[in-house]
């Protein structure tokens, strides 16, 4: 698709992109630290991924290949809109393949296929501040981060155990970055947390409404918070994916009929399709 001529490359003007890239650089220099940035007006409302879109827009080059997913799927409305938005304003190639993409913009999931060096994953973040629900004052939370005053974070986990017998936080599970900053990994399921640790890819986080950017440079240590006697445990699923048989992927529950029938399938559509394609391939191919 050729770029729409009346818009600048990737919609934003070069000055804005420069400003955002500066914020990104600062974020990379201080892993896990929330850098304020002046959020621009985008042609989609707040709450629809404007932060992620601005980050992607600022780093896209003509040779990039973009993948956009929403809850792991390339074909939901949001993913499709954002992908088409970039295609129209840049003319770059897009893909659904995790391996082929150079930039992956995601809402609420990390792809199952491991990422490589030179790949960039951009997360859409609603509320960047992990302490927000316990401490509503911005002035206070800034002090807490500055002074490594994180007792409150463990209070949240304590409350979970007291109320539910275990740490009930299932997504947006807080992590400690390089043993310095506590970070909200965005509303990805805690299942995905271990993927962030020592990832070869560059991970960028954009929150448009809250006007914050943060980042994890490649090979950053990311540890999920927990207690000694209640260690972090990944979610385990009871059954494999109903379509491709994967045992180690995050599964979505899909309702199949009006009688309440359901099945569990991979949330990462590309991963599932890939596994199915290989399974149907030449004999001897790995499943």
């Amino acid at each position: 698709m050729t770029a729409c001529a009346s818009y600048n490359f990737a919609y934003l003007d070069e000055q804005s992109k420069r400003t955002i890239r500066r914020a990104i650089l600062k974020a990379i220099a201080i892993p896990g630290y929330q850098v304020p940035f002046p959020s621009r007006e985008m042609p989609m409302p707040y709450g629809w991924g404007t932060g992620g879109v601005q980050v992607t827009a600022s780093i896209l080059g003509p040779d990039d290949i973009l993948k956009v997913i929403d809850q792991g799927a390339d074909d939901t409305t949001n993913a499709v809109s954002i992908r088409q938005f970039f295609a129209r304003t840049t003319g770059i190639r897009t893909t659904t393949s995790t391996q082929k993409a150079t930039i992956i913009q995601t809402r609420h999931r990390i792809p199952e296929a491991p990422l490589a060096e030179r790949q960039i994953i951009v997360y859409q973040v609603p509320i960047p501040e992990p302490l927000r629900f316990l401490e509503p004052r911005e002035s206070e939370t800034r002090q807490m981060h500055a002074l490594e005053d994180y007792g409150l974070m463990h209070v949240k986990l304590y409350e979970d155990i007291a109320r539910h017998g275990h740490i009930a936080t299932a997504y947006a599970y807080p992590v400690m970055v390089e043993a310095r900053y506590v970070m909200d990994p965005s509303p990805t399921p805690k299942f995905d947390n271990p993927k962030m640790h020592l990832s070869p890819a560059l991970q960028l986080f954009g929150a448009g409404r809250e006007q914050r950017i943060y980042a994890l440079p490649p090979y950053t240590r990311v540890v999920s918070l927990d207690f000694e006697d209640h260690p972090f445990a990944r979610t385990r699923f009871d059954a494999p994916c109903a379509l491709c048989g994967a045992l180690d992927a995050y599964l979505d529950e899909v309702v199949v009929d009006d009688a309440g029938g359901r099945m569990f399938v991979c949330s990462d559509t590309d991963y599932c399709a890939g596994r199915r394609a290989r399974a149907a391939g030449p004999p001897g191919a790995a499943t």
Binding site: L134, L147, V155, E159, R163, E228
Partner: protein, 260 residues
């Protein structure tokens, strides 16, 4: 009561102006380990300003404040970095607010409230944190079954006792209290004062307590300072000041107080 040569906290010429308005002026005092110092005066006397200055929550316009750290070194508190000051306020010190809602997290369970300081200094074992919280709740006479309840379900007196437990859990050496019995029923006050007195004696705690109630001052404090219009007008042992008041204002205060 132990006598220490070096005061735990030492204030010299503390003065605070809010624009043109005087908060307090030229206050010098010492607080020693294991003693309870009462600050009495009517509203507008500057006693709350003084407490905020002493606990470094306000910066003075003039004057200095020194504190003897656990390692024995005396430090100028306003020359300390913010991180160090906050650390002190969370471990070595406690602050009990008049309104317990200011000193508690009302959306967090009692156990979480008491455990917060422990978690802030690195405790990472849920079982031990909870056990410590239950222990302290018992010491402030709150039944252990209430450990998971929110403070919104607690009565005023219970909330105040919870606030005390929350502060005591890191074995502070200095406790600041701002009218801790304000707004409580008389019988509830008695229970609270009993608790405070016991804790101060048993733990060798130094306490600076601001109160307008002379009966509370008489019951709890060893020494007393009387404030009026932002200045200290009289000081001495509690029984000296209340039984043999010398300043006109002190005499007025004592005579006006029915129970003092």
């Amino acid at each position: 009561m132990r006598t220490r040569e070096i005061p735990l906290l030492s204030a010299e010429g503390l003065t605070k102006f809010y624009g043109d308005r005087l908060g307090c002026s030229g206050v010098s005092l010492d607080v020693y380990a294991g003693e309870v110092l009462g600050v009495v005066g009517e509203s507008g006397s500057g006693k709350s300003t003084l407490l905020s200055l002493l606990s470094t929550q306000l910066r003075p316009t003039h004057g200095c404040l020194q504190y003897c750290m656990r390692d024995g070194v005396v430090r100028d508190l306003f020359a300390l970095g913010e991180a160090d000051r906050r650390f002190l306020l969370r471990t070595d010190w406690g602050f009990v607010h008049q309104d317990p809602r200011l000193g508690l997290r009302m959306g967090v369970s009692a156990g979480g409230n008491v455990g917060e300081r422990l978690m802030a200094v690195g405790w990472r074992n849920y079982g031990r944190i909870r056990a410590e919280a239950v222990d302290w709740l018992a010491r402030v006479e709150i039944e252990s079954e209430r450990v998971d309840d929110l403070p919104t379900t607690y009565s005023g007196g219970m909330r105040q006792r919870l606030q005390i437990a929350k502060n005591m859990v890191t074995a502070p050496r200095l406790l600041f209290m701002d009218e801790p019995t304000g707004g409580l029923d008389v019988s509830v006050q008695a229970r609270l004062l009993d608790l405070i007195r016991g804790l101060a004696a048993d733990h060798g705690l130094a306490v600076v307590i601001v109160t307008h109630d002379l009966a509370v001052a008489r019951l709890l404090s060893h020494r007393l300072i009387v404030m009026r219009h932002g200045r200290v007008i009289e000081t001495g042992l509690t029984d000296q000041v209340l039984d043999d008041p010398r300043e006109p204002y002190t005499q007025l205060l004592v005579s006006a107080n029915l129970r003092g």
